[in-house]
Protein backbone atom coordinates (compact mmCIF):
# COMPACT_ATOMS: atom_id res chain seq x y z
CA UNK A 1 0.00 0.00 0.00
CA UNK A 2 1.33 3.43 -0.91
CA UNK A 3 1.39 5.52 2.23
CA UNK A 4 0.58 9.21 2.32
CA UNK A 5 2.38 11.39 4.84
CA UNK A 6 -0.03 13.79 6.50
CA UNK A 7 1.00 16.76 8.61
CA UNK A 8 -1.54 17.88 11.21
CA UNK A 9 -0.73 21.50 12.05
CA UNK A 10 -2.97 22.56 14.90
CA UNK A 11 -2.35 24.22 18.24
CA UNK A 12 -5.24 22.35 19.87
CA UNK A 13 -4.04 18.94 21.09
CA UNK A 14 -7.52 17.40 20.82
CA UNK A 15 -7.50 17.89 17.07
CA UNK A 16 -3.99 16.53 16.63
CA UNK A 17 -4.80 13.49 18.75
CA UNK A 18 -8.21 13.01 17.14
CA UNK A 19 -6.88 13.06 13.59
CA UNK A 20 -3.90 10.92 14.55
CA UNK A 21 -6.10 8.28 16.18
CA UNK A 22 -8.42 8.28 13.23
CA UNK A 23 -5.75 8.01 10.54
CA UNK A 24 -3.59 5.52 12.39
CA UNK A 25 -6.36 2.97 12.03
CA UNK A 26 -6.00 3.26 8.25
CA UNK A 27 -3.19 1.52 6.45
CA UNK A 28 -2.42 4.24 3.93
CA UNK A 29 -1.46 7.20 6.13
CA UNK A 30 1.64 8.24 8.07
CA UNK A 31 1.10 11.10 10.51
CA UNK A 32 3.30 13.91 11.76
CA UNK A 33 2.18 16.76 13.99
CA UNK A 34 3.10 20.38 14.59
CA UNK A 35 1.54 22.85 17.05
CA UNK A 36 2.71 26.03 15.27
CA UNK A 37 4.40 27.43 12.17
CA UNK A 38 7.91 26.76 13.50
CA UNK A 39 6.97 23.12 14.01
CA UNK A 40 5.51 22.97 10.51
CA UNK A 41 8.68 24.43 9.01
CA UNK A 42 10.78 21.91 10.88
CA UNK A 43 8.69 18.99 9.60
CA UNK A 44 8.76 20.33 6.08
CA UNK A 45 12.51 20.92 6.31
CA UNK A 46 13.06 17.29 7.19
CA UNK A 47 10.68 15.78 4.67
CA UNK A 48 7.84 17.28 2.71
CA UNK A 49 4.55 15.64 3.68
CA UNK A 50 2.16 15.00 0.80
CA UNK A 51 -0.70 16.75 2.62
CA UNK A 52 -0.85 19.32 5.41
CA UNK A 53 -4.03 19.95 7.39
CA UNK A 54 -3.57 23.46 8.75
CA UNK A 55 -5.65 25.15 11.43
CA UNK A 56 -6.90 28.62 10.48
CA UNK A 57 -5.66 29.91 13.84
CA UNK A 58 -2.26 28.26 13.68
CA UNK A 59 0.17 30.29 15.83
CA UNK A 60 1.72 32.72 15.48
CA UNK A 61 0.17 34.44 12.44
CA UNK A 62 -2.70 32.13 11.44
CA UNK A 63 -3.21 29.37 8.91
CA UNK A 64 -3.53 31.59 5.84
CA UNK A 65 -0.16 33.23 6.53
CA UNK A 66 1.30 29.76 7.12
CA UNK A 67 -0.05 28.54 3.78
CA UNK A 68 1.50 31.56 2.07
CA UNK A 69 4.87 30.77 3.65
CA UNK A 70 4.75 27.07 2.96
CA UNK A 71 3.63 27.44 -0.64
CA UNK A 72 7.06 28.95 -1.35
CA UNK A 73 8.98 26.08 0.22
CA UNK A 74 7.20 22.87 -0.55
CA UNK A 75 4.86 21.10 -2.95
CA UNK A 76 2.71 19.83 -0.08
CA UNK A 77 -1.02 19.95 -0.78
CA UNK A 78 -2.40 22.25 1.89
CA UNK A 79 -5.85 22.12 3.39
CA UNK A 80 -6.98 24.77 5.84
CA UNK A 81 -9.66 23.91 8.38
CA UNK A 82 -11.59 25.83 10.99
CA UNK A 83 -14.88 26.30 12.81
CA UNK A 84 -17.51 28.43 11.08
CA UNK A 85 -15.47 29.43 8.02
CA UNK A 86 -16.40 32.77 6.50
CA UNK A 87 -16.59 33.53 2.81
CA UNK A 88 -13.60 35.85 2.74
CA UNK A 89 -11.51 33.48 4.84
CA UNK A 90 -12.06 30.55 2.49
CA UNK A 91 -11.26 32.70 -0.52
CA UNK A 92 -8.20 34.17 1.15
CA UNK A 93 -6.89 30.69 2.05
CA UNK A 94 -7.35 29.42 -1.49
CA UNK A 95 -5.76 32.55 -2.95
CA UNK A 96 -2.79 32.08 -0.64
CA UNK A 97 -2.19 28.62 -2.01
CA UNK A 98 -4.49 26.29 -0.07
CA UNK A 99 -5.79 23.37 -2.08
CA UNK A 100 -8.99 23.05 -0.08
CA UNK A 101 -10.88 24.01 3.05
CA UNK A 102 -12.67 21.85 5.58
CA UNK A 103 -14.96 22.31 8.57
CA UNK A 104 -13.54 21.16 11.89
CA UNK A 105 -16.87 19.51 12.55
CA UNK A 106 -16.24 17.11 9.69
CA UNK A 107 -17.12 13.47 10.32
CA UNK A 108 -14.24 10.99 10.63
CA UNK A 109 -15.38 9.22 7.45
CA UNK A 110 -15.63 12.57 5.68
CA UNK A 111 -12.11 13.53 6.67
CA UNK A 112 -10.65 10.24 5.46
CA UNK A 113 -12.59 10.55 2.20
CA UNK A 114 -11.35 14.12 1.74
CA UNK A 115 -7.71 13.20 2.37
CA UNK A 116 -7.87 10.27 -0.03
CA UNK A 117 -9.47 12.61 -2.54
CA UNK A 118 -6.51 14.97 -2.23
CA UNK A 119 -4.19 12.06 -3.01
CA UNK A 120 -6.23 11.51 -6.16
CA UNK A 121 -5.89 15.17 -7.12
CA UNK A 122 -9.23 16.43 -5.82
CA UNK A 123 -9.71 19.71 -3.99
CA UNK A 124 -11.53 19.12 -0.71
CA UNK A 125 -14.30 21.64 -0.33
CA UNK A 126 -17.73 20.87 1.09
CA UNK A 127 -20.77 22.00 -0.90
CA UNK A 128 -21.54 24.91 1.38
CA UNK A 129 -17.95 26.11 1.22
CA UNK A 130 -17.89 25.78 -2.57
CA UNK A 131 -21.05 27.92 -2.74
CA UNK A 132 -19.49 30.38 -0.32
CA UNK A 133 -16.38 30.63 -2.45
CA UNK A 134 -18.33 31.22 -5.65
CA UNK A 135 -20.26 33.98 -3.85
CA UNK A 136 -16.97 35.47 -2.70
CA UNK A 137 -15.59 35.42 -6.25
CA UNK A 138 -18.73 37.14 -7.53
CA UNK A 139 -18.42 39.76 -4.79
CA UNK A 140 -14.81 40.41 -5.76
CA UNK A 141 -15.81 40.82 -9.42
CA UNK A 142 -18.65 43.16 -8.48
CA UNK A 143 -16.31 45.22 -6.36
CA UNK A 144 -13.74 45.45 -9.14
CA UNK A 145 -16.41 46.57 -11.58
CA UNK A 146 -17.76 49.15 -9.10
CA UNK A 147 -14.25 50.50 -8.54
CA UNK A 148 -13.80 50.86 -12.28
CA UNK A 149 -17.01 52.90 -12.43
CA UNK A 150 -15.89 55.01 -9.46
CA UNK A 151 -12.76 56.00 -11.36
CA UNK A 152 -14.79 58.58 -13.30
CA UNK A 153 -15.23 60.61 -10.11
CA UNK A 154 -12.87 63.39 -9.16
CA UNK A 155 -10.98 63.19 -5.87
CA UNK A 156 -13.35 65.77 -4.34
CA UNK A 157 -16.44 63.91 -5.54
CA UNK A 158 -15.10 60.74 -3.96
CA UNK A 159 -14.54 62.60 -0.74
CA UNK A 160 -18.15 63.84 -0.79
CA UNK A 161 -19.44 60.37 -1.62
CA UNK A 162 -17.47 58.89 1.26
CA UNK A 163 -19.32 61.23 3.61
CA UNK A 164 -22.64 60.35 1.98
CA UNK A 165 -21.88 56.63 2.39
CA UNK A 166 -21.44 57.25 6.10
CA UNK A 167 -24.82 58.96 6.31
CA UNK A 168 -23.62 62.57 6.53
CA UNK A 169 -25.97 65.42 5.57
CA UNK A 170 -24.99 68.14 3.12
CA UNK A 171 -24.56 70.65 5.93
CA UNK A 172 -22.15 68.32 7.75
CA UNK A 173 -20.21 67.56 4.56
CA UNK A 174 -19.93 71.25 3.79
CA UNK A 175 -18.57 71.97 7.26
CA UNK A 176 -16.10 69.10 7.15
CA UNK A 177 -14.75 70.03 3.71
CA UNK A 178 -14.90 73.82 4.23
CA UNK A 179 -17.16 74.33 1.21
CA UNK A 180 -20.67 75.66 0.84
CA UNK A 181 -23.78 73.48 0.97
CA UNK A 182 -24.50 74.60 -2.57
CA UNK A 183 -21.15 73.18 -3.71
CA UNK A 184 -21.90 69.91 -1.98
CA UNK A 185 -25.22 69.75 -3.84
CA UNK A 186 -23.42 70.41 -7.13
CA UNK A 187 -20.97 67.61 -6.35
CA UNK A 188 -23.85 65.27 -5.57
CA UNK A 189 -25.58 66.10 -8.85
CA UNK A 190 -22.35 65.42 -10.73
CA UNK A 191 -21.81 62.15 -8.87
CA UNK A 192 -25.32 60.91 -9.70
CA UNK A 193 -24.93 61.97 -13.30
CA UNK A 194 -21.50 60.37 -13.77
CA UNK A 195 -22.48 57.11 -12.11
CA UNK A 196 -25.95 57.12 -13.68
CA UNK A 197 -27.57 56.57 -10.32
CA UNK A 198 -31.08 57.73 -9.38
CA UNK A 199 -30.62 58.83 -5.79
CA UNK A 200 -28.31 59.74 -2.95
CA UNK A 201 -29.19 56.41 -1.28
CA UNK A 202 -28.20 54.49 -4.44
CA UNK A 203 -24.92 56.42 -4.55
CA UNK A 204 -24.19 55.49 -0.94
CA UNK A 205 -24.95 51.82 -1.65
CA UNK A 206 -22.73 51.95 -4.73
CA UNK A 207 -19.85 53.39 -2.70
CA UNK A 208 -20.18 50.66 -0.08
CA UNK A 209 -20.11 47.97 -2.78
CA UNK A 210 -17.01 49.53 -4.33
CA UNK A 211 -14.92 50.23 -1.27
CA UNK A 212 -16.37 48.28 1.66
CA UNK A 213 -16.43 49.27 5.32
CA UNK A 214 -12.69 49.12 5.92
CA UNK A 215 -11.68 51.50 3.14
CA UNK A 216 -14.56 53.83 3.93
CA UNK A 217 -13.47 53.97 7.57
CA UNK A 218 -9.83 54.50 6.58
CA UNK A 219 -10.76 57.33 4.22
CA UNK A 220 -12.87 58.88 6.98
CA UNK A 221 -9.92 58.83 9.36
CA UNK A 222 -7.72 60.58 6.81
CA UNK A 223 -10.32 63.27 6.15
Amino acid sequence: VMRTRILIADSVPIFRTGVRNLLERESDFDIVEAPDLAGVQQVIGEQCPEIALIDLDLPPAGGVAAVRELAKECSTRMIVWSFDPERETVLSAVRSGADGYLHKEISPAGLIRSLRGVVDGEAPLSRDLATMMIDALHAVEEQASARERAAVLSAREREVLNFVARGARNKEIAAALFISEFTVKRHMQNILHKLELPSRRAAAAFYWSAFGPQEIAAAAEMA
Binding site: V12, F15, N21
Partner: protein, 125 residues
Protein backbone atom coordinates in the same frame (compact mmCIF):
# COMPACT_ATOMS: atom_id res chain seq x y z
CA UNK B 1 -22.00 8.88 43.42
CA UNK B 2 -22.09 5.14 42.84
CA UNK B 3 -19.77 4.16 40.03
CA UNK B 4 -21.64 2.01 37.58
CA UNK B 5 -19.26 -0.55 36.15
CA UNK B 6 -19.97 -1.84 32.66
CA UNK B 7 -19.73 -5.46 31.58
CA UNK B 8 -16.15 -4.76 30.64
CA UNK B 9 -15.42 -3.76 34.24
CA UNK B 10 -14.95 -0.09 33.44
CA UNK B 11 -16.97 3.02 34.29
CA UNK B 12 -19.06 4.46 31.49
CA UNK B 13 -18.30 7.86 29.93
CA UNK B 14 -20.84 9.52 27.62
CA UNK B 15 -19.42 11.90 25.03
CA UNK B 16 -21.94 14.18 23.40
CA UNK B 17 -20.14 15.97 20.63
CA UNK B 18 -20.66 18.35 17.76
CA UNK B 19 -17.02 17.77 16.78
CA UNK B 20 -16.65 14.04 16.10
CA UNK B 21 -12.86 14.26 16.34
CA UNK B 22 -13.28 14.87 20.07
CA UNK B 23 -14.49 11.27 20.40
CA UNK B 24 -11.56 10.08 18.32
CA UNK B 25 -9.17 11.92 20.61
CA UNK B 26 -10.71 10.60 23.82
CA UNK B 27 -11.06 7.00 22.72
CA UNK B 28 -7.35 6.29 22.99
CA UNK B 29 -6.82 8.58 25.97
CA UNK B 30 -9.47 6.78 28.02
CA UNK B 31 -8.58 3.31 26.76
CA UNK B 32 -8.26 0.93 29.70
CA UNK B 33 -9.83 3.50 32.02
CA UNK B 34 -13.41 3.83 30.87
CA UNK B 35 -15.88 2.57 28.32
CA UNK B 36 -16.97 5.30 25.95
CA UNK B 37 -20.36 5.83 24.36
CA UNK B 38 -20.53 8.76 21.97
CA UNK B 39 -23.57 10.61 20.65
CA UNK B 40 -24.04 13.50 18.23
CA UNK B 41 -24.83 16.81 19.90
CA UNK B 42 -28.09 17.37 18.03
CA UNK B 43 -29.94 14.25 19.22
CA UNK B 44 -32.51 16.05 21.38
CA UNK B 45 -33.72 15.10 24.87
CA UNK B 46 -30.19 14.73 26.17
CA UNK B 47 -31.45 14.54 29.74
CA UNK B 48 -33.64 11.53 28.89
CA UNK B 49 -30.77 9.87 27.07
CA UNK B 50 -28.42 10.31 30.02
CA UNK B 51 -31.02 9.07 32.52
CA UNK B 52 -31.39 5.91 30.42
CA UNK B 53 -27.67 5.40 29.91
CA UNK B 54 -26.61 6.40 33.44
CA UNK B 55 -23.00 7.26 32.60
CA UNK B 56 -20.39 7.83 35.31
CA UNK B 57 -19.03 10.92 33.57
CA UNK B 58 -20.10 13.12 30.68
CA UNK B 59 -18.09 15.14 28.16
CA UNK B 60 -19.81 17.73 25.94
CA UNK B 61 -18.55 20.32 23.47
CA UNK B 62 -21.41 22.81 23.13
CA UNK B 63 -23.11 25.11 25.66
CA UNK B 64 -26.46 23.57 24.66
CA UNK B 65 -25.26 20.07 25.51
CA UNK B 66 -23.76 21.36 28.75
CA UNK B 67 -27.17 22.79 29.68
CA UNK B 68 -28.91 19.58 28.61
CA UNK B 69 -26.59 17.37 30.65
CA UNK B 70 -26.40 19.54 33.75
CA UNK B 71 -29.59 18.31 35.41
CA UNK B 72 -28.55 14.63 35.18
CA UNK B 73 -24.98 15.43 36.29
CA UNK B 74 -26.21 17.34 39.35
CA UNK B 75 -28.80 14.72 40.31
CA UNK B 76 -26.41 11.79 39.85
CA UNK B 77 -23.31 13.55 41.18
CA UNK B 78 -21.26 12.64 38.12
CA UNK B 79 -18.59 14.91 36.60
CA UNK B 80 -19.60 16.88 33.52
CA UNK B 81 -16.74 18.23 31.40
CA UNK B 82 -17.44 20.98 28.86
CA UNK B 83 -14.79 21.43 26.16
CA UNK B 84 -14.64 24.99 24.83
CA UNK B 85 -12.74 24.58 21.59
CA UNK B 86 -12.52 28.22 20.57
CA UNK B 87 -11.19 29.30 23.94
CA UNK B 88 -9.05 26.13 24.19
CA UNK B 89 -10.35 25.68 27.70
CA UNK B 90 -12.29 23.23 29.82
CA UNK B 91 -14.84 23.75 32.52
CA UNK B 92 -16.15 21.08 34.79
CA UNK B 93 -19.29 20.62 36.85
CA UNK B 94 -18.31 18.70 39.94
CA UNK B 95 -19.67 18.76 43.48
CA UNK B 96 -22.54 20.93 42.28
CA UNK B 97 -20.53 23.84 40.88
CA UNK B 98 -18.88 24.78 37.60
CA UNK B 99 -15.17 25.51 37.75
CA UNK B 100 -12.21 25.90 35.40
CA UNK B 101 -9.44 23.41 36.09
CA UNK B 102 -6.03 24.74 37.02
CA UNK B 103 -4.42 22.72 34.25
CA UNK B 104 -4.32 24.89 31.17
CA UNK B 105 -5.52 23.96 27.72
CA UNK B 106 -8.04 21.53 26.33
CA UNK B 107 -5.89 18.47 25.88
CA UNK B 108 -7.26 14.92 25.89
CA UNK B 109 -5.08 14.24 28.93
CA UNK B 110 -6.60 17.17 30.84
CA UNK B 111 -10.08 15.83 30.07
CA UNK B 112 -9.01 12.35 31.16
CA UNK B 113 -7.66 13.71 34.43
CA UNK B 114 -10.90 15.50 35.20
CA UNK B 115 -12.92 12.39 34.48
CA UNK B 116 -10.65 10.12 36.49
CA UNK B 117 -10.63 12.61 39.36
CA UNK B 118 -14.40 12.87 39.25
CA UNK B 119 -14.98 9.13 39.17
CA UNK B 120 -12.18 7.74 41.31
CA UNK B 121 -10.91 10.76 43.23
CA UNK B 122 -11.04 10.70 47.03
CA UNK B 123 -13.84 12.69 48.60
CA UNK B 124 -12.76 15.34 51.09
CA UNK B 125 -13.05 14.11 54.68
Amino acid sequence: MTTRVTNGGEPLVAIVCKVPLLCEALTSTLAGIAEIHSFPADLGDLDGLLRSLQPDAIVVDTPESADGAESYARASHVPLVHVLFREEKLRVLADGAWSAPEENGASPEAIRNLIVGGIFGRQPA
